[in-house]
Symmetry: C2
Subunit: 505 residues, 2 copies
């Protein structure tokens, strides 16, 4: 159990913010912290350069500016500061006009919001909507975050009765990502078939001059909101990507941004810095090599998507083959989790008794919020159990030598969500500095897109061959076809694609 | 890439079932398979004994009978066979009567279904409802799977307009699990405050003579459906736990059970057995010790909960401290994943470039289903991309030496879902035999409940002391209180609980 003094050396608390971080269940011996002294100092310097506008994403030659989004006064130039501020004004005004019926669907108030996007363009708005769902949202919200036509069909089915009053956001930085493009095309056609003028319902969130931007302007869409190349997808939640859907959904985005700004301020200091502490904990727990998985368990239903959000933020940022000096390092930290106490009935059995291949981060929310407003009868009893399960599990894991971190938040609000996200954004940045990888590129995603394009090209070659020779996929032989189209090295893929064609012919 | 001959040695296909398993991307050398010969034979024998009614869960002295649920003719005695058959008839009749307005809420047709349960009592029905959502479900479905009062409040808020026509199922085998109990109490009070007679809306799914069963009978609930001690929570999806919500939601449960039965039949054979192949793959990929994580990526929106479901099934079954001879083994396999291609924009970056600490299972669905029925315009193009992303990722991972398995299913239907679930149930059973752990107990969950109870007791002691001495939590000192209540060894917990009390006072 340890003494309270031991506990306090691992405990950082910020009363005014209703926030604390407990790292006492990760052994951070003094000499380990001394070892960190130099890399820690360097990480602070690198972060300072980044915030001042250095090209921190060297691979893509880009600045990394998500911290400016909640403190435009720190932006490296007036143009960027103005862009951030004017976009925020534009978002606030647009959402207000939709809510007040000044922007309408031919005189009718909008009732539904369909958000199209993938990766950072989906997870951010999904997390924020789910965690901060207002008591009486002015719009219902739905998401399309894939290129699954059956997923499109499900979503369209739900929207049929409301299509006339449905707003659609399409978020794609480059405007050329296949998944949102396919979803956009299907949605536009769905409006067309329903005889509803799509452009009057459509909003693009994209970089200036992207294909999507050009299309939106040419078709005279309802609105276009900007994205910038200095904001990465996985850190775009405090840009228009996260803020516009949130504002339309009735969430207090000013308070959300304030929370992020306050945490940014707190995590610029060199002492008692919770983001650096978090990064150091990850380093100690995973030996700086990702040797253990990070299990994230927030004890609240509203945070059921947090682990998925952090999975993207952390794994895409840290999962790298090379360090910045070009050494092959195969870095990363695996992240998974859902919510407590639910997960105790799923995998806590293994955490307690099975392989010691993880460390847990408990997210503790001290206060009920909705239950009290709505007078849920036994709210305080239910909350006692929730707290009891969290502390009991933390204790039991500690007893069998399993490491954990506990992040405590007084109440789940837009402000505290802003804090939490900014905390993790900076912790990832710091950790990447400690292990010397570029946290801001994602070469693997690009090569994934390329691999898919090659498969589609191969499929076309097969289809062309079959049609030119009047062969049905049922009667096609993979080896014969592969040879005929000179793709002997791809015979297995030819076989797989023929199976796919057979099922769909 | 390998030749087609290499591929075929790792490929098992069942054309009539529209199902195949490709293990070619896990190197299964002949000598490895020879090493497995004896454990494999023993695993088959153990499974046969289990299906014949042996006490396969020795810890709890229980039979393990989830396979009987879809083939009651194999049940070890008439009483069990009759119970299965009559329950199935009862479920089918009940759902039909609700759909046809024979069972009503005071003359009004039921419109909503709230399912209360946690662990296996939630994940099964959640998965099946999400994956197999009918085009026009006769009821809307919601879940309460936690003891979060804010989660209760969210759910109740949504139900306010429909409460009069809301059915509620409470699933709890023992009837004493705190989470569903708290949710039940809150829900009953919510009905009471809304002046609606809860018992006429309430259905229990529980073991005979459990507390929940007694309450349901005493209060004359609408119905009680049986659970049995020979069905574990994580394998209860083909019992009333999964079937009743599914049937009420309009899913073809007969076809679902048939799919499971067909896979059971297939995986009883000693040759070309996909469940055994899967178990062997897991053994090879994780050295029989869970040294790699299992990443599950189904390329369909409808299977977005599959990984979470399998996470429970696999981690709770395999994550064990002791093997069956009492050796300390700390076994388990970590499972995570969401869906493709979405996850390619989240963590496939790390899978490609980062730590080689995983193997992937791709779930490939060849055919669209909903999109074709609803004439989604660019369905086939979108599906081509989905397939392209799957094959491209599989290929790219293989090129950098990352292992994967591909399970291919022609179409996502109740039948194929039944197959998929039965496949994994038996693979887990086989794998547990290969590593000699009891797949059917969960001692860690029990001790988790106990730990929580201790925390709640400690909290009560603190509250009693504070109130007896008229001290407010704001002015309480953890060390003083711990000493006063003679819990010096629990001082840190006293501190944490005081923080909780302060936030809530």
């Amino acid at each position: 159990m340890g003494s309270l003094a031991d506990f306090f050396t691992g405990y950082i608390k910020f009363d005014a913010l209703g926030f604390s971080l407990d790292s006492s269940k990760i052994s951070m011996l003094e000499n380990v912290l001394r070892e960190f002294a130099r890399p820690t100092a360097e990480a602070f310097e690198a972060m300072e350069r980044l915030e001042n506008g250095a090209i921190a994403n060297a691979t893509e030659g880009r600045q990394v500016g998500h911290y400016w989004l909640r403190a435009p006064e720190f932006a490296p130039n007036e143009a960027i500061a103005d862009a951030i501020k004017s976009t925020l004004r534009q978002i606030t005004a647009f959402a207000r006009d939709v809510h007040h019926g000044k922007i309408t669907a031919g005189g009718k108030k909008f009732t539904h919001l369909l958000c199209i996007g993938i990766g950072g363009s989906a997870l951010g708005p999904q997390l924020i909507a789910d965690a901060l769902m207002p008591e009486n949202p002015p719009l219902k919200i739905l998401f399309l975050d894939n290129t699954d036509p059956d997923g499109f069909a499900r979503c369209f089915k739900l929207l049929v009765p409301y299509l006339e009053t449905t707003l659609v956001t399409i978020t794609s930085k480059s405007g050329s990502t296949p998944e949102p493009n396919n979803a956009l095309n299907a949605t536009a056609e769905f409006f067309f078939r329903s005889k509803i003028h799509f452009p009057s319902h459509a909003i693009a969130i994209t970089c200036d001059e992207s294909k999507l931007c050009q299309r939106a302007r040419a078709e005279k869409w309802l609105a276009v909101f900007p994205m910038w190349d200095w904001v990465g997808g996985r850190t775009s939640i405090t840009s228009a990507v996260g803020l516009l859907p949130a504002a339309l959904y009735g969430i207090d985005i000013e308070s959300f941004l304030n929370g992020a700004a306050m945490m940014d301020k707190l995590t610029r200091t060199r002492e008692k810095n919770p983001a650096m502490r978090l990064a150091q904990c990850w380093h100690v727990a995973t030996e700086g090599k990702g040797t253990k998985d990070m299990v994230i368990i927030p004890y609240r239903d509203g945070l059921g998507l947090l682990a998925k959000y952090l999975q993207q933020l952390i794994m895409e940022s840290l999962g790298k083959r090379l360090d910045r000096r070009g050494n092959v390092v195969h870095q990363g930290i695996t992240v998974y989790g859902n919510k407590g106490s639910t997960d105790q009935h799923a995998y806590v059995q293994q955490l307690r008794d099975g392989r010691d291949n993880f460390f847990v981060t408990f997210i503790e929310i001290l206060r009920n919020q909705r239950a009290n407003k709505q007078n849920v009868t036994n709210a305080s009893e239910a909350a006692d159990y929730l707290e009891g399960f969290l502390l009991g599990t933390r204790e039991a894991l500690n007893e069998c030598g399993r490491k954990s971190i506990t992040i405590t938040i007084r109440e789940l609000t837009p402000f505290s969500m802003g804090m939490l996200i900014a905390l993790y954004e900076r912790a990832v940045g710091f950790y990447a500095e400690l292990i010397d990888v570029n946290a801001y590129d994602q070469p693997g995603v690009e090569s994934g897109k390329k691999a898919a394009a090659e498969i589609l090209a191969l499929k076309k070659e097969i289809c062309d061959y079959l049609s030119q020779n009047s062969i049905s996929p049922e009667h096609a032989d993979a080896e014969v076809i592969a040879e005929a189209i000179h793709r002997e090295g791809r015979i297995e893929l030819v076989f797989k694609l023929l199976e796919f064609l057979r099922a769909n012919s």
